[in-house]
């Protein structure tokens, strides 16, 4: 278990992380979200022991990252932002180096290296020097070194940044497959990723937590939660039909398409059955009709901008 309590990190006068507290349990995949400069990377750098906290503490399975740094670091696999690695080494040399530093000896080294090469599909670039690899391969080399010692805690700073959709998919399924008995913290600003891989999402802004919950819980905070999207083939006065329907809060027409409507629900309650009944009775010329789960992006924007407004005001 990772416990972060009252963590503060200052750079001179600038407060990057401000009294942050949360804990992560085994089996959780925590999506760490926030606008650029919110303090995501700084928090990860403190958790992994690269930067010392200005105040507060971080413990990994009871080992304090400041006072028992080596024990804590042994439990962590870390992919730093940008997946840095030694460019003049080949993939194989680099991974062997990591395996040795991680304490593997003799035949174990080759076994572990072969295992991770398999896991992240690096077979084709085994003997290529890392500086000649494409961005996607470099990222995978970084992932390979992070999972070398089958760590209990996996901390990945923007693992899919700059990858093409196929590679993203691959990395996500890798994270999912690793996650069962581990603690995984993934920072990202791709929101679909959170819905795809994370069991919990924490949004931070200006160094503070502004939202914390499962992706579904966060989505339900959206004003689009339970809203119904309707696209018509012909113009029809939906607003008049819906006036008397209970639970309907308001109706909006899309700006770019006069036939696409969004019907908002009052207080996030389900209005599917009422609205579909009306639609049948009034014979709406429907081409599309579906319920929104809510938009994480919208929640993200609203909670981070609120926080910014407070910080500036």
């Amino acid at each position: 278990m990772i416990e972060i309590s009252h963590l503060t990190k200052k750079f001179d006068q600038f407060v990057a992380v401000n009294d942050l507290s949360f804990s992560v349990r085994e089996g959780e995949v925590l999506g760490f979200l926030g606008p650029n400069g919110a303090g995501k990377s700084t928090t990860m750098k403190v958790i992994t022991g690269f930067l010392a906290p200005s105040a507060g503490k971080v413990t990994i399975d009871g080992h304090d990252i400041s006072s028992a740094a080596l024990q804590a670091k042994r439990l962590i696999g870390y992919l730093p932002e940008g997946a840095p690695s030694y460019g003049d080494m080949t993939t194989l040399e680099f991974l062997r180096f990591i395996a040795q530093v991680r304490g593997f000896r003799g035949v174990e080294i080759e076994q572990r290296v072969d295992h991770v090469i398999n896991e992240v599909a690096l077979e084709s670039v085994r003997d290529q020097s890392i500086e000649t690899l494409s961005k996607g391969f470099k990222r995978r080399v970084g992932l390979a070194q992070a999972i070398m010692h089958d760590p209990k805690v996996l901390i990945l700073d923007e693992p899919t940044d700059g990858l093409d959709p196929n590679q993203k998919h691959h990395v996500r399924s890798l994270i999912k497959s690793l996650a069962t008995d581990k603690i995984v913290i993934v920072s990202t600003h791709i929101l679909e990723e959170v819905t795809a891989v994370c069991s919990r999402a924490v949004i931070i802004a200006n160094g503070k937590i502004v939202a914390d919950g499962t992706p579904a819980e966060l989505e339900s905070q959206s004003r689009f939660h339970q809203a119904i999207r309707v696209t018509l083939t012909d113009s029809h006065d939906l607003v008049a039909d819906l006036k008397a329907v209970p639970g309907v809060a308001s109706v909006e027409v899309a700006e770019d398409n006069g036939l696409a409507y969004t019907i908002f629900a009052e207080g996030g309650a389900s209005i599917f059955s009422q609205v579909s009944e009306v639609a049948q009775q009034k014979h709406w010329p429907i081409s599309e009709f579906y319920v929104e789960r809510g938009q994480l992006e919208e929640v993200f924007r609203s909670v981070t901008q609120q926080s910014e407004g407070r910080a500036n005001g």
Partner: protein, 244 residues
Amino acid sequence: MGNLGIIFKRELHSYFATPLAYVFIVIFLITNGIFTFDLGGFFLRGQADLLPFFGFHPWLYLFMVPAIAMTLWADERKTGTIELLLTLPVRLVDAVLGKFLAAWVLTGIALALTFPIWVTVNYLGDPDNGVIVAAYLGSWFMAGGFLAIGSCMSACTKNSVIAFILTVAICFLFVIMGSPILLNAFPSWAPQWLVDAFSAMGFLTHFDSIAKGVLDIRDFLFFSVFIGAWLLASAIVIEMKKAN
């Protein structure tokens, strides 16, 4: 093998994986040759010793050693690998020492490859080989002193060119500290202990006696402590500056 050894091996290997080690060794040998035979008048002196060879080493190291040292930490910071290295279960002291030792061994290899000159002087005359061995060792320790300064300067910046210039400047200061040029520049009211302390910190003070065959353990001790102090400073600077 502990982590120090693993890091040492990786660093040394990476010198030879790039042309850096070869370029360094070749240029080192060529300039050594020019200095010894041309400027040093190795043959004209008609003496069976290597004084003209060793005499130029402080000046040769002044530019060659900072070139190796400049990338030690600056490149780690620039490429971000410092974050990788220092989040592995590695003690900072192992990283600092491992990197330093790899660079030091590289200068040792370059120095050892000057052996033909030793063979030559033995062929031409009958030198005191004990003196020559001591001078080789002394020269290597002095290179270590330059490197340790370089390690610290390299830790100060992401830019290896700046690290190079800073290292050259500081090394130059330590080279001339013991020389009459600087000591004569002291005003007459300066207390003697200050002049002595200055002179005692100078590389030339220590290296000249080693090169002449005066094998004083205190000179080696000086370089060892000097190296230790600058490496400690490197570790402190890395700890302080790794955030930016």
